[in-house]
Symmetry: C2
Subunit: 213 residues, 2 copies
């Protein structure tokens, strides 16, 4: 089972590494990080690069596709090699998954038309214009498409996907091995739960957060 | 504020990327990934490499040090450049942090002697022989030392640290921007909560999980 994780300049690291950390431990899984060209690909912060071990053309038949989000996503919404690749691999994939604004890439490629999907809460209003039915939920499954909300939601998405692929016991064993028993020291992780002034502060930086200038 | 994240061969990616994703967004923070030599450093899974942008010798005065765990950790428990570096940078660091079995590296370097600390639940029995007071808690703070339990606990550790460094409002804003409102689809993330047969299965693979053979 080949699982391809897409990388592009100015992606968000945890969007990709959260799912990798879960899915790489599925029995028989072979993960591959893929980019427009092999080599280091920088996150939007700039101080971290992950290595793309394969070019898009080298990965033409993955079983599972994982698409992260991040500010660089907006440069691949139109025609181009990433859109072409997403359309091509989706034809034969068993699962096509996204995290955060990665779902906007899938939607822009026409893969989520009429389907239920989610994305980062700050980008939710971008789903409907792309023909997608927006759902304000942490993880949304519609057929073989599974989309996660912002950044850290990719971990919850991956455990859901792990259970669907390999069964509950395998997913639970991976969860225990990764000690995924979250205990956030603050309860500010959603617009509903965040203190009002924190919500206002983050909203006021919406453009910066989504595009990093 | 320079924040150095240590990389070594066969580290666990989420141990490093979880804290990076939080701490990189602190105002004024400059993250740097550091390794024995600059270049790609592979995780224990092998299908992912993160780039070390600096050699140990180039980062001699970080404000915050973050030490991930992973199977490769056991090769740095004795004399060597990583132990030397940990001891040297700890002299002037404001915070020295670890995730998962990263605390065993700190303990082996003599930095946690007599201090309260935690690690991955499967490695907890290794703390006391290294002179550390083991605490079965997700995040443990003792002076400037902050240690996290297994893998995903680094995210909770980093939010705790973010609050201590920059205040609650900043930490909460980062939490909201990362939509860190975990909703695991399974409740198997700790030995206490996991189904008995899942716990037994993971325990039986303890050596593999900690050392990957």
């Amino acid at each position: 089972m080949q699982i391809a994780v897409l990388l592009f300049d100015r992606f968000t690291a945890l969007d990709a590494v959260g799912p990798y950390e879960v899915l790489a431990h599925l029995p028989g899984a072979h993960l591959v990080f893929v980019g427009e060209r092999p080599g280091p690909v920088r996150t939007e912060v700039g101080s971290l690069a992950l290595t793309a071990d394969a070019a898009l053309s080298e990965v033409d038949n993955p079983d599972v596709v994982v698409v992260p989000g991040g500010p660089g996503q907006r440069h691949h919404m139109g025609e181009g090699p990433i859109r072409d690749w997403l359309r091509a691999v989706d034809i034969t994939s068993t699962w096509t998954a996204s995290v955060c604004t990665g779902s906007l890439l899938l939607a822009a490629a026409g893969l989520l038309t009429g389907r239920r999907a989610t994305t980062h809460w700050l980008a939710h209003d971008q789903l409907a214009p792309l023909g997608t039915v927006p759902v304000a939920q942490r993880v949304v499954t519609d057929g073989k498409y599974i989309t996660a909300s912002g950044v850290s939601a990719g971990i919850d998405m991956a455990f859901t996907l792990a259970g669907r692929i390999a069964g509950d016991a395998v997913a639970q064993a991976i969860q225990l091995a990764h000690e995924y028993d979250p205990q956030p020291p603050y309860q500010a992780g959603s617009p509903e739960r965040a203190p009002r002034e924190v919500l206002a502060a983050v909203r006021s930086r919406k453009d910066f957060i989504l595009s990093r200038g």
